[in-house]
């Protein structure tokens, strides 16, 4: 995610064109793969990216939008430089992940699904990340923190606030 910030707009456009060229001729069959790679380039899928993908694969923008909004992995909004994913899978939930989420919301003054005004943090309430042995678990970008209690949250976030 962090690397998306360093790319210029022109670089992003070129990369997207290369992705579309790679799947040329496959049409809608390749839509999911193109969108996944496009999101890796931009960090999210704004309207102009949707248009480019639609034109490139020969499908309508409505169809592209329909697919994006169906799957929770795709995002129409930019994400923070640090995405805080709070696992709300059942194993984490019974071990108190709701309180962890509320603490993070309180600390960052945003709700799940939102991004801080400075673009630094966003909160993602996610389903199981498969590390149930460490429940309750959060991830900050790729870093995993497990066996948490709400009072550990401020210190964890502080590390990234300074970064």
């Amino acid at each position: 995610m962090g690397s998306t910030k360093t790319k210029t707009h022109d670089e992003q456009v070129t990369l997207l064109e290369q992705v579309i060229a790679k799947y040329q001729g496959q049409g809608r069959k390749a839509l999911m793969q193109v969108l996944q790679e496009a999101q890796a380039i931009y960090g999210y899928l704004p309207l102009d990216v949707q248009r480019t993908v639609a034109d490139g694969l020969g499908v309508s923008v409505a169809e592209v939008y329909g697919v994006i909004t169906f799957y929770s992995f795709f995002s129409l909004n930019p994400k923070g430089a640090f995405e805080v994913s709070v696992c709300l899978g059942t194993a984490c939930y019974v071990k108190g992940s709701q309180a962890i989420l509320e603490k993070i919301e309180e600390e960052l003054h945003i709700k799940a699904g939102e991004c801080t005004p400075d673009g630094k943090f966003s909160i993602n309430a996610c389903r199981c990340i498969g590390a149930c042995g460490l429940a309750p678990v959060i991830m900050v970008n790729e870093d995993v923190y497990g066996r948490l209690t709400p009072d550990q949250i401020p210190a964890i976030l502080a590390k990234y606030k300074e970064a």
Binding site: K29, L31, F70, F73, G89, A91
Partner: protein, 600 residues
């Protein structure tokens, strides 16, 4: 091949990777080289051992010594003490959970492993998943070789699977051989084999662990399935949230192709088979077979009515079979050891074993595989080590958002497909969450319903609208405004949704509510009539109080209160909570060192 005097197996499953097992391997290799042992001790990165709660886990053979919660800083000590001087580091051999596993010096002797039987997980934790050679050394690709080089007829392959009694491990329990037979009967140039690795059940990580620990077993099984039904193309639909699994699958497919075990003319036969990976994008409904196929086609994952069944008209309208990861992982063993051997395991109607992701309020959280027929009690108390912190057991939830809760009085139910359905739950893909006295059953029902409301694809009205109405009723009850009529409304809605929904998501969505209503009705009634949540979970019904006689008048609670609703005089008057202003965040309760703050 080099000979080593010791092998160190380091778990690189999801849980252990999250707690730095990668760094441990790095340090191990560095330290072994530094101490001149790199040609004597071999480091092997493996898949999941199962005991995730105590990770990162390391096992040293030939002794079978198991180390728990190893940190990268422990490596120097392990190398110099254990590998150089031959003295195992006792400090790291005891587990921290309530029930001692430490009496068992040997891995296999520990309570956690004794009652397990690893069939689908046979290679997880014992081979390096990134090495096809290690898979082959453990009889890998022997089954595919037997099928192709001994020229078994496709029908014989199917009959062998039918004879084994294997049923779908994704949840439904449909006989696998029968599914293959339907697809094999179709006359079509193009057919497909799909693997469902879109493990959406929150709290379940069986498929993930198999893909990460033994990817070749799935690839081998898919090729066997392809030969049996006459397909030459396979797709693995895997969650994008599982990057390690995706990377190991890609590696495994590449290795298999390089060895002629996949691709053109497999094993030099006339049979060709290729596999491609498709990433899911986070939609629970895509675990449903027709929805999954629409997603591979690049569409919204809306289910389509059956019939036509996928075996007749599936992916790209061609005959298709879809099996789950764990189902596939069982296939090679059936051909290695024979269908009769497989059928000798388990119960009358459910053969073989089942993998469960044991989680929640249980000591030994982890991945367990048991023969069908093992009781719930054996899993929770013998393998799982019981409930931590001396709390009382309340229920076990199986089947995720489609399943239900099994109460204490049914703990001796032997696990198989039919028994679990009979007690109002279902096998599901294998999530098994233990709940203790602090878990509110109404809240859990609401939790699952929030999930299904969120994940309903919206195509059919009973599921889209019905589940939302049910959720609203539950919100009323947990908020303190529920009535007894609401309980009846829940039951009425549930029947309509079950009967009227298009796919399994809607048909099973009411199960968590129905099963908790059946087994824990008194908790619902308490919420409604007494406006009380006995577990103090439902905020709408909970109130915080300060016990005057325990209050030391230190004022810490008032300082922590985010809304300033606690008043008192430092050192003179006990503090009091204004319950009208209280937002029930619990900060005061956490702050109080004297346990003077209580909730009820």
């Amino acid at each position: 091949m080099d000979l080593y005097r010791a092998h160190v197996l380091v778990c690189c499953g999801t849980g252990c990777t999250s707690s730095q097992s990668g760094k441990i391997i790095e340090n191990l290799e560095k330290e072994l080289t530094a101490q001149g042992l790199s040609r004597e001790v071999k480091v092997v990165k493996t898949g999941c051992f199962g005991l995730c709660a105590e990770g990162p886990i390391m096992v040293v053979y030939p002794e079978g010594v198991m180390y728990y919660r190893v940190s990268p800083d422990d490596v120097t000590e392990i190398v110099s003490e254990h590998f150089l001087k031959g003295r195992p580091v006792a400090r790291l051999m005891t587990v921290q959970t309530a029930v001692p596993l430490d009496q068992a010096r040997n891995v296999e002797e520990s309570d956690f492993f004794k009652k397990q039987l690893r069939v689908a997980l046979r290679n997880c934790g014992s081979i390096n998943p990134e090495s096809i050679e290690e898979y082959i050394a453990h009889d890998g690709y022997l089954a595919l070789g037997k099928v192709l080089t001994e020229k078994m007829a496709p029908l014989d392959v199917i009959n062998e699977v039918k004879k084994s009694g294997l049923r779908g491990r994704g949840g439904g329990g449909f006989p696998t051989g029968l599914k293959w037979e339907f697809a094999a009967r179709q006359q079509n140039e193009q057919k497909y084999v799909c693997c469902n690795a879109d493990e959406g059940d929150p709290g379940a990580f069986m498929d993930r662990s198999i893909l990460e620990g033994d990817p070749h077993s799935v690839i081998e099984a898919m090729a066997i399935a392809g030969y049996a039904i006459g397909a030459n193309q396979g797709y693995i639909y895997v969650r994008a949230e599982y990057p390690i699994a995706v990377q190991r699958l890609k590696l495994a497919i590449g290795q298999a192709k390089a060895y002629g075990l996949l691709g053109e003319r497999v094993f030099g036969s006339e049979f060709s088979f290729d596999i491609e990976i498709r990433l899911g994008a986070g939609a629970f409904v895509c675990g449903e077979e027709t929805a999954l196929m629409r997603s591979i086609e690049g569409k919204r994952g809306n289910p389509t009515p059956r019939p036509p069944f996928p075996a007749v008209k599936g992916l790209f309208d061609k005959p298709t079979i879809l099996n789950n990861v764990e189902t596939f992982a069982n296939i090679p063993v059936i051909f290695q050891k024979g269908a009769d051997w497989f059928a000798s395991l388990g119960t009358d109607k459910s053969k073989g074993t089942k993998v469960f992701a044991l989680g929640g309020k249980v000591s030994n959280v982890g991945l367990v595989e048991i023969p069908m027929g093992t009781t719930v009690r054996e899993i929770v108390f013998d393998i799982g080590g019981g409930i931590p912190n001396n709390k009382a057991f309340k229920a076990v939830q199986t089947g995720g958002p489609s399943g239900g809760c099994i109460p204490a009085k049914l703990l001796d139910t032997p696990i198989d497909y039919d028994n679990l359905i009979a007690v109002g739950s279902m096998m599901g893909s294998g999530g098994m969450i233990v709940m203790d006295e602090d878990t509110c059953m109404v809240d859990i029902a609401k939790f699952f319903l929030e999930f299904t409301v969120d994940e309903s694809c919206g195509k059919c009205a009973p599921c889209r609208i019905g589940t939302r109405r049910m959720l609203e009723v539950l919100e009323k009850i947990t908020g303190g405004t529920g009535t007894m009529e609401d309980l009846e409304a829940l039951e009425r809605l549930a029947v309509g949704i079950k009967e009227g929904s298009l796919c399994a998501l809607g048909q099973t969505a009411p199960n968590p509510v129905l099963s908790t209503l059946k087994h824990f009705r008194e908790e619902y009634v308490e919420h409604v009539t007494e406006k009380r949540c006995r577990c103090g979970v439902c905020k709408g019904l909970t109130q915080y109080f300060i016990l005057t006689d325990l209050c030391k008048m230190c004022g810490l609670c008032a300082k922590r209160c985010p809304v300033g609703c606690i008043s008192g005089v430092l050192g003179k008057e006990p503090f009091v909570i204004d319950t009208a202003k209280c937002i029930k965040c619990g900060a005061c309760m956490q702050a109080c060192k004297f346990k003077a703050v209580v909730k009820r």
